[in-house]
Symmetry: C2
Subunit: 509 residues, 2 copies
């Protein structure tokens, strides 16, 4: 990274003072209140919790202007992007309300007594998913709404019926405090149990929350280093709890020779747009582009040079990016194609121009520890290959990824290679894209946002989409239980009107 000035990154003059760090007593009070709220929150009917979520979404909508103003100050993200993100956040809250209304998420299964069951008389057995209990959520820096205080982790945990204790990200403390106050007020007004929601500040408070006996699960989006440390704390507890961490990903993009021949210009311009979008501050930023060595990189270099410098989220991201780019561009196995620059004093709020470097497949594999590492910000690495067959071993050697992308031609000639490449990538990534770009994670039923470690600490779960709720639910089976002690989801008359499996088949509506 070539700074226009040589001094260390200084905090922006307008940086607000962060709310004071929460004390150990604050953490204990929040978790104990959450434990106290858990039974009543679990006992609400799904449609009652759906109402809570909609009330929270309405309250966020009503405060959009002030929230966006604060977010812009604290994160340097442009207003249009922030407004869009507020919309995504309230959409998520309302989507989980719809999930509750539908009720399929409860996975209700009824097996009535069967004296003729092949392995011995079967009692009446009824299974439903119930909330785990208090969930600790760590807000992310790069989505100050959609992955923060009222982001997907909080929405899915509340939907599941779990009280939530959020540890605010230090990148947007005032926004976090305001969002938390909105949530708290809306939940109280809607009659949620006391203790349903709390907000904590400070790293030590986060660690204390993860290790507090009342915590039953953790949701996290952030760095590999920070996430792994918290994962290890959660696993080492006297009673280990699930830690759902979405950590790091380089989101490789593979371009076949035929695709490069057919439409190199389009691919190179799409790549430049995707890796510099939002100043490269997305978990799904494509950090590696595999290209035939014969492709001219000039159009890509021109596009990157023409890309407008943009601010970074905060000083911590700026410092991390500076270090990552230095490691990338200073590595003997890379060539710098575009040297990123930063205006002025190198503060996060300055204009950061993107960086582009190049290497070969052989060098990438030989120096994977540095060159396959996520560099969070506007930087990417072009990896050239002489022969397409080089791509298969590199696909197998990838660490776990959120996404992997193939650009190829859909022709009979390409199919065998595309199939071989895709087969390897599906083992290494949570989402596979064809002729597209990984940035932009649509919130839909079919979305999976996760992947093998380190993309996620639990490859079985997603942090985006309807099934994110399952992270915070556990099955309970009731055996020969009288009707009045069964949860409504399991009663004979199906008072919730939800889809159920009864005696091995879908229950007729």
């Amino acid at each position: 990274m070539h700074h226009h000035t040589d001094g260390p990154a200084a905090p922006a003059a307008s940086a607000p003072a962060a709310p004071a760090d929460s004390t150990a007593a604050d953490v204990a009070a929040a978790l104990e209140a959450a434990a106290g709220a858990a039974p009543a929150l679990a006992d609400l009917l799904p449609r009652e919790r759906a109402d809570l979520l909609r009330r929270v979404a309405d309250a966020v909508d009503a405060d959009t202007d002030a929230l966006v103003g604060l977010a812009a100050e604290e994160t340097h993200l442009p207003e249009a992007r922030l407004r869009g993100e507020v919309g995504r956040t309230t959409f998520q809250l309302r989507r989980f309300a719809a999930v509750l209304d539908e009720g399929a998420y409860l996975e209700a299964v009824v097996d009535t007594a069967d004296p003729a069951w092949p392995v011995g008389p079967r009692p009446d057995l009824r299974r439903v998913l119930e909330p785990l209990g208090p969930v600790v959520v760590f807000g992310a820096s790069n989505f100050p709404f959609a992955f923060s205080v009222l982001g997907g982790d909080t929405a899915s945990a509340l939907a599941a019926g779990c009280p939530v204790v959020v540890k605010a990200h230090p990148g947007h403390p005032r926004l976090s405090a305001r969002t938390g106050a909105i949530a708290d007020r809306a939940l109280r007004a809607a009659g949620a149990p006391e203790g349903t929601f709390a907000l904590l500040f400070g790293e030590e408070a986060g660690r204390l929350a993860v290790t507090h006996p009342a915590a039953r699960a953790v949701g996290f989006t952030g760095s590999i280093r920070g996430g792994r440390a918290l994962h290890d704390l959660a696993a080492a507890r006297p009673e280990p709890i699930p830690f759902y961490g979405e950590l790091g990903s380089v989101n490789p993009v593979f371009v076949t020779r035929a695709a490069a021949e057919a439409r190199a210009a389009e691919i190179l311009s799409g790549f430049a747009g995707s890796f510099t979008l939002g100043a490269g501050q997305f978990c799904t930023k494509p950090g590696l582009l595999f290209l035939p060595a014969s492709v001219s990189l000039e159009p890509l270099v021109d596009a990157v040079r023409a890309s407008a410098p943009a601010a970074l989220l905060n000083e911590r991201v700026a410092a991390g990016f500076g270090g990552g780019v230095a490691a990338l561009t200073g590595h003997p196995a890379t060539t710098v194609l575009v040297e990123g620059t930063v205006d002025g004093d190198g503060a996060a709020s300055a204009g950061w121009a993107p960086t582009l470097a190049a290497t070969t497949v052989t060098d990438l594999l030989a120096h994977a520890d540095v060159l396959m590492e996520e560099c969070f910000g506007p930087a990417a690495l072009v990896v050239s290959y002489a022969d397409e067959s080089e791509l298969l071993p590199v696909a197998e050697a990838l660490p776990g990824q959120l996404t992997a992308t193939v650009h190829a031609e859909d022709t009979p000639q390409e199919r065998p290679f595309a199939a071989a490449l895709t087969a390897r990538l599906r083992d290494r990534a949570g989402r596979l894209l064809w002729n597209g770009w990984p940035t932009g994670v649509s919130v839909t039923d079919a979305m999976h946002h996760g992947g093998p470690y380190p993309a996620s600490t639990s490859a079985l779960h997603t942090s985006v989409g309807a099934t994110a709720i399952r992270r915070f639910l556990r099955p309970v089976t009731y055996q020969d239980m009288p009707h009045h002690l069964l949860p409504p989801a399991l009663r004979d008359d199906n008072p919730l009107g939800i889809p159920r499996r009864v005696d091995g088949a879908a229950e007729p509506a």
Copy 2:
């Protein structure tokens, strides 16, 4: 424990020499072969894997006599019980074949492209569950068939499409070897990929398998101490993997005053039968019976005294049980009601008579570290209470349980208390029973065999029942992928004929 002789438990004269411990090279070869088999096994159609499971089940059925003979020698379990367990084991294999045939387990979701999607144009997104990769399974001692080499963990992992490396339990090495050979032969004959199944022996081999880079998940049934050590190894790997351990449980039974007044004799006799069944060697053995102090224990004492002595599984179980009973009966807060005895030299194969002790709720809570600990074998503790209200705090203080049972009268007078007690127990246990006994775990869709730690290391998952397969599957989403590169489950024409969710609703059949 009062032994008729004072010497240490000696190995039975007929104890077979265990197969040699697997070497580090054996472990590496098994896991590497499993990794090699994984893509081909994953690519089989569900009905092709169903065929593999049925072929394995047929092969087990065909060898039942020899298997039961070996099992009886090695585990001292009665033949009728072992024959029943073989039936349960092949039933499980065939049930997972049926799960594959139905295909709902794939959770296929198709969201077609939607330019009008509220948070921005939605690409074509299709999600399906795919196998995690090689699974390491630790066989249990107490179900030498149903939770061992070809038990539920192996059946569900193979069904999911994951190669399996089993670490044999040292309690039945020759049976494990024979079962493993049957599996290997049947899988090869059915055309399963080379490396689909392997069998290892020895504790160190088990640890090496859990930490081998190719292992993607672990299934385990056994002790808290052993399971926790392996859990910690799995969590501390450079790439952590899920560890599904079913560990320990005391399976408390709560008897209300009204139930005791109405049918003490029936309850006491049922309890004696349940905790001595199979010499108390079940994960679901009820170890604690909460009773009003006013109930006469004489019928219980008589029933326990009349219970026939039985052999224990192996010398390790005998030694552990001896220690556990000594801690229980020697504890200052307990009174011995029936002192268990053991015939002869105290070998596992000798006759072990059951032990019954008593304490109070107050003492149980004060000495929970010893008195709430599982004592694996024919021993139980009666916990007397003066007032039913004492039961609520003790229900809250329980460690995580596989089961919790309430004996109460289904009358308007009882309902409020039964509801309060059940509400607390559902947070602490995976299965709640009413007026029944927890031993006997029916294999059905609605069964949940798991619970909060230490009952299980993952409260979200079960080791029995159809949903056990989900432990070994992870979601993958395909974005804008050409038809020929999609897995069959996600193609437009639904060639597998499975239930799917398409654009937010069940796809018409």
